[in-house]
């Protein structure tokens, strides 16, 4: 049924709804804040431009092999700088770290949201957040002095039991098991657990109670609710959180430098071998004694790791934001 239409004209012209003449104060208020906000773009652009300008000499002379080759000899007559093993090492350690961190983080989030009573949950949340606040140099110190001996043990055990699986295989029968991607992966895992936990926790706690109660009322068990109700609705958000963690892991510098033997003999997936790579750590390790030509090579390495983490983080925040519609606006 139609509404009462006194004029009956369906085409009414919309008026422009500007907020009218803004007061002087408001004009400045919005001008200042929007300039500040746009500074985020400026900052990203500046980083790209400055890094790129300094990286160009290397990028132009090395070409695509900068990413794929595995040789670093910056002071030869014809400098060769190929980042391959470091780049692959960053990815290997990042994925190892994520694989180790994800179960811990999801468990911690599940414990906090669904199992612990409120006060205990609050304490647990504080503990996890505290872990996030630990400086990486402190984690590195702990990693080399306290964790490495323990992890070497774990590595030995896994090598003895699972040595027939390539990733746990070591060539040298008297391997030291120190300074391996395995240990670096654990260190990175310790650092990214809090990020994944806090994203997952938030997504869990925003779950519709009605949905869970409904499932419980239908006779669902804890496990079936977890698998059939909680995980399907929150999985994309959790993946976003994991990607955020991956982004952080790829850029980790100081802590990895302590616990990993950086080597240009590429280590594809032998987690327990005492050699690996990490772009960010390589930059820091070489920086002190870099010649002019290596300086440009390190800048190029920085540009690469920046672009990789930027892509991972953009994807992650896109997924997380979509999984958390209540954060919009």
């Amino acid at each position: 049924m139609a509404n009462e239409q006194k004029t009956g004209s369906p085409e009414v012209s919309k008026r422009k709804l500007s907020s009218g003449p803004l007061s002087k104060g408001d004009k400045w208020f919005f001008r200042v804040t929007s300039i500040s906000a746009n500074f985020a773009f400026v900052l990203v652009a500046l980083i790209v431009v400055f890094l790129f300008a300094n990286a160009w000499p290397t990028l132009s002379s090395q070409g695509f092999s900068f990413l794929t080759g595995s040789n670093w000899n910056p002071d030869a007559k014809h400098p060769v700088m190929q980042l391959g093993p470091m780049l692959w090492g960053s990815l290997l350690i990042g994925f190892t770290g994520v694989l180790l961190a994800a179960p811990m983080a999801i468990s911690a989030a599940y414990l906090i949201v669904y199992l612990l009573p409120k006060p205990a949950a609050r304490v647990a949340t504080t503990i996890i957040d505290l872990l996030a606040a630990l400086p990486s140099v402190v984690i590195g110190l702990w990693g080399i002095a306290v964790f490495t001996p323990v992890a070497v043990n774990w590595a030995k055990i896994s090598n003895q039991l699972l040595g027939w699986i390539p990733i746990f295989h070591v060539k040298d029968p008297n391997a030291a098991f120190t300074d391996s991607p395995f240990i670096a992966g654990w260190i990175v895992a310790v650092m990214i657990v809090p990020i994944i936990t806090s994203v997952t926790r938030e997504i869990f706690s925003q779950m519709d109670d009605g949905l869970i109660n409904g499932a419980l009322a239908l006779g669902g068990s804890r496990f079936s609710v977890f698998r059939r109700v909680i995980m399907p609705t929150s999985s994309s958000g959790i993946i976003g959180g994991i990607l955020l963690g991956l982004g952080r892991a790829l850029g980790e510098t100081v802590a990895i430098l302590y616990v990993l033997q950086l080597s240009f003999k590429i280590n594809f997936f032998s987690l327990l071998e005492s050699r690996g790579g990490a772009v960010a750590s390589w930059i820091l390790a070489r920086f002190g004694e870099a010649s002019n030509s290596e300086f440009h090579g390190l800048m190029a390495a920085g540009l690469v790791i920046f672009l990789v983490t930027l892509a991972v983080n953009m994807l992650a925040s896109f997924i997380v934001n979509r999984a958390q519609p209540w954060r919009k606006n």
Partner: protein, 355 residues
Amino acid sequence: MSNLTSRQPWAQSSATFKLQLAIVSTIPSVIGLLFVILGNLDFSIGLIGVFLPIQVLTVAAFGWRKAKRRGLSDALLIFFTIFFSTLVLVLLLSVLGSVIFEGFKALSPHFLYENNRYVGTTTSLEYGGVGHAILGTLLIVLLTTIAAVPLGIAMAVYLTQSQSKMRGVVRTVTQSLAGLPSVVAGLFVLAIMQFTHIERSGFTGALALFPLMLPTVARVAEESLRLVPSDLRMAALALGAPNYKAFFQVILPAAKSGIITALLLGLARVVGETAPLILTINMNNTTNLNPFNGPIASLPTYVYSFLGSNYSSSQQRAWGAALVLLIVVGILFGSARILSRKKSLKTKPVKKAKK
């Protein structure tokens, strides 16, 4: 007490159930420990090879007895949740414990205020300290804060108060900046220095920390501004307030503790950053109070440089400085916690009134 339990029939579980639960949760660890102590077994092997399989089996059996398959899967879910969460807790306590334990050995009053003027890698701990590094860190971080906090808050204001369509993009870019590898921040400033011929000083260090602090401040400030009910803004506007007055007089006071939390968490984020400082400042063994000129010390680079040496006194210095750094982070983090706790208490009466 008895009254309460009688009113909560679901809270009463039979004595046999409790006994079974106790057996299930203690026996495997006891067996594991016995193996480790009597069998002189390595702790890790005892944990992974003995305790874990027995525990999984007993938990599974317990669940199966209670409710067949449903009980089994529930019991395993809870077991693994607790197992992995305990792992996180153990890792964290191990970090905290070792830093506190080792750090205390180096800590003494003079360690906190003396500088390292005559200290070498083998100098005994009776001499020297981190006083110059504490001051250096404070100066560098102060400079970063002066720039990053107002800008971060302004960004948060834009993200919450304006109606621009660009907000989503700005938010995504800011969030991605939060994942900026710290070494890249250092390289960036290095490239700027190369270009402008600025000398290394505390200032360049502060510049390198800036892109790391900004997104943290912006995000936390945005979240706290968002917690202010939009009703308040509407009420202020309906009373004829221009936007900026509504913000400064109504919204900002209501979000005050959240804004301070943003400041504290931003500080906690950068105070321990190492890589950017290694790239952009020259380390110093003496006190330098001028952040715009000359080499300057900082706590993270202090840890880094002494860790590089194998002498035990240097290692001790590294632990001591790490403990001081941890205490600084702890104070920042703790005050942020207390502030946000207070805020949540304060908003409770509002909710009640609304009902």
